[in-house]
């Protein structure tokens, strides 16, 4: 991993992801705020749409490759690409080179893009060496490790290191933090009863921590867990961890802005 020196001002493309774009733009703005605080020049390429993960995971390889080429063309002109989602970042970093390996033109471009694409918290912590300053939120929270970020990108300590710098924030360990929440993209709507059984156990574990907030790095997982918690009458409120890190943890939680 290339570590930029803090005096650099890299041109960083924010790939905001479909779910953030359509369901919770605050995550996008929190990412911009944190990246700028970390000394980056943030650009949001207008032509971005979807990384193709739904097609990839449904087996529609042709569409996945198609969307990958488009995304590569949109994102490759920048120094770094930052994504506020472990699963979308993994799609670009891990899967784009895999699915385009056979393509003599786009394979190398996919590899080049992968090398400079990061999940947002990993980028801030490991590439920028940055921690938030002057951010305070005196609440308790618990952190769920989303599977793609954890297993495909090694995201585990970075969010916790960043959150540790939020004054007054106490992280309580989640029993089974690394256990899948049952979202799985289209899985949760194709096999809803199984998904419900899985997220039901996850929600019970979250409630058992007694924490005020649920945090994670993937909006799909958060929607799944928060949606279940809310349906079951739990008072736990959910945020994407980057929102707290960017000092926006005092705003409306998921499902609170009408």
């Amino acid at each position: 991993m290339v570590t930029a020196t803090p005096s650099d001002r890299p041109r960083v493309a924010l790939f905001v992801t479909c779910l953030v774009d359509l369901i919770r733009p605050r995550i996008g703005f929190a990412s911009i705020a944190a990246l700028e605080a970390a000394g980056c020049e943030v650009i949001v390429p207008e032509a971005q749409t979807c990384c193709g993960q739904p097609a990839l995971n449904s087996g529609d390889r042709k569409t996945a490759e198609d969307l990958a080429r488009r995304a590569i063309a949109v994102l490759e002109p920048y120094d770094h690409v930052v994504i506020p989602s472990g699963s979308c970042a993994a799609t670009v970093r891990v899967h784009y080179p895999e699915i385009l390996e056979h393509d003599a033109v786009w394979g190398p471009r996919a590899t080049a893009l992968a090398a400079k694409t990061y999940e947002v918290m990993a980028y801030l912590d490991e590439v920028r060496g940055w921690t938030p300053e002057g951010v305070a939120l005196p609440v308790t929270a618990t952190y769920h490790d989303s599977c793609s970020g954890l297993r495909e990108l090694g995201i585990k300590r970075q969010p916790r290191r960043l959150l540790a710098a939020v004054d007054g924030l106490t992280l309580r360990p989640l029993d089974g933090a690394e256990t899948c929440c049952g979202f799985g993209g289209t899985f949760c709507v194709k096999y809803p009863a199984i998904s419900n059984a899985i997220v039901g156990e996850k929600a019970a574990a979250i409630d058992a921590t007694g924490a005020d907030l649920l945090l994670a790095g993937d909006l799909g997982c958060l929607m799944n867990m928060a949606g279940k918690l809310h349906r079951d009458g739990s008072p736990v409120r959910a945020f994407h961890a980057i929102e707290l890190i960017a000092g926006m943890g005092d705003g409306p939680a998921i499902g609170e802005d009408a």
């Binding site: 905001v16 953030v20 774009d21 359509l22 369901i23 919770r24 733009p25 996008g28 703005f29 705020a33 949001v44 207008e46 032509a47 749409t49 979807c50 193709g52 739904p54 097609a55 995971n57 449904s58 087996g59 529609d60 390889r61 569409t63 198609d66 969307l67 488009r70 793609s148 297993r151 690394e178 256990t179 899948c180 049952g182 979202f183 799985g184 993209g185 289209t186 899985f187 949760c188 709507v189 194709k190 096999y191 809803p192 009863a193 199984i194 998904s195 419900n196 059984a197 899985i198 997220v199 929607m223 799944n224 928060a226 949606g227 809310h230 349906r231 409306p252 499902g255 802005d257 009408a258």
Partner: protein, 473 residues
Amino acid sequence: MSAPATAPTADTFDTRVAAALADRNLKLAVERTAGTAEAKRTLAVDAFPDFEAARDRAAAIKDHVVANLGHYLERFEANATAAGAKVHWARTAQEACDIVIGLCKAANAKSVARSKSMLGEEIGLPHALAEAGIVRIETDLAEHIIQLSGERPSHIIWPAMHKTREQVSALFKTSHRNPHVEESIAAMAESARRHLREGMLAADVGISGANFLVADTGAVCTVTNEGNAELSLVPPRMHIVTAGIEKIVPSTGHAVHMLRMLSRSATGAPLSQYTTFYTGPKRPGDRDGPEEMHIVLVDNGRTAMREDGLVEMLRCIRCGACMNHCVVFRQIGGHAYGGTYPGPMGAVLTPAFDGLKQSRDLPNACTLNGKCQEVCPVRIPLPTLLRGWREKSWREGLEPASLRSGLGAWAWFARRPRLYRAATAAALRSMRLMGRSGWLSKLPLAGGWTRYRDMPKPPAESFMAQYKKGRRA
């Protein structure tokens, strides 16, 4: 590719899942076995020096064998034959069963004692024995239980994990000659020990699988914790082994490494109670042992897997760690999968054995979370293999039309950024009409979601729309 099951599964994945999710006993049973195995494995792995390097080695050993499988099979055959065993080859499940039944008939066998073998289950051996009128004595306690209940295994290590003690007690009281009186598990196990002993020792033929086939020596290795394999395979005059061709290891030394990985991954134990290497039939002067030993090497789709992008699946040593750690398996148990093998490894293997059209739900009913790959002692990239089945399913047009058109529409817009913005803006406007508060509890076309969960109400404008208008924070 597989022979008919002992109990036909005419129902669908969805109906089996619904039944499983409604079964409180099943959930308790799964936590007691798979949940305990998860905890024990973690302890064993933490106590083992450099488990990650050990996994690399185990994967490399299996890859080396599979890459040179023809060579090793011939070497195994030569050494087993030199030790006095007879080696047979079977392309299909049917051929394998025909060989076994043929051997039993030639030996005039009225009964066979069986030690647990998932491969035997895969090729439909119980059914073939029944058809041939040969009495089948299952000596593994769990296999004995499911023989009494007429079921298939629900886990590859604990075939009867889905049964409660009350159910087992009832089965034993009906079927055992001298059943337990005290309602304790120890008493039940004692009843099975008594009931099975005589038949087991009097069987004409003993049939086993193989955990490993050792190429250098021609030995067949079995691993048990009950000692039933030895009691089934030593007394009869004929020992028949049915084993998948991928069970080969180069030498006993390689088997030792794999054995260290196997029991830790399966149950968390450093080693199982009984590890036996059988090399040929009894020797002159031996007081016990079979007169004849037959080893049936079974292909049944394994050479095809090597060619069809499933070669890593041939590393599998049947430890069961993947299913123990699978969030889907932990909710639905083993029978819901409907095939010989459940869990992640079953989701990869069943389409290969039974055809993708019939079993396409299995690779799809997975969140691709990757825990299975993380715990696999031989690093099988299970999510990648499952995604491969999804790709094949898509190419063959097996996915439902609603999914194809939904994804097709999504992709169409995703290729056209301006239209994407317009379409999603329209979608946001209509979704916002679905509810007053920040949450939506009902959503057309998303019943699967809202049946169980609320959906956060989307914003009035997308991120991209707001950004374009100049919002930055």
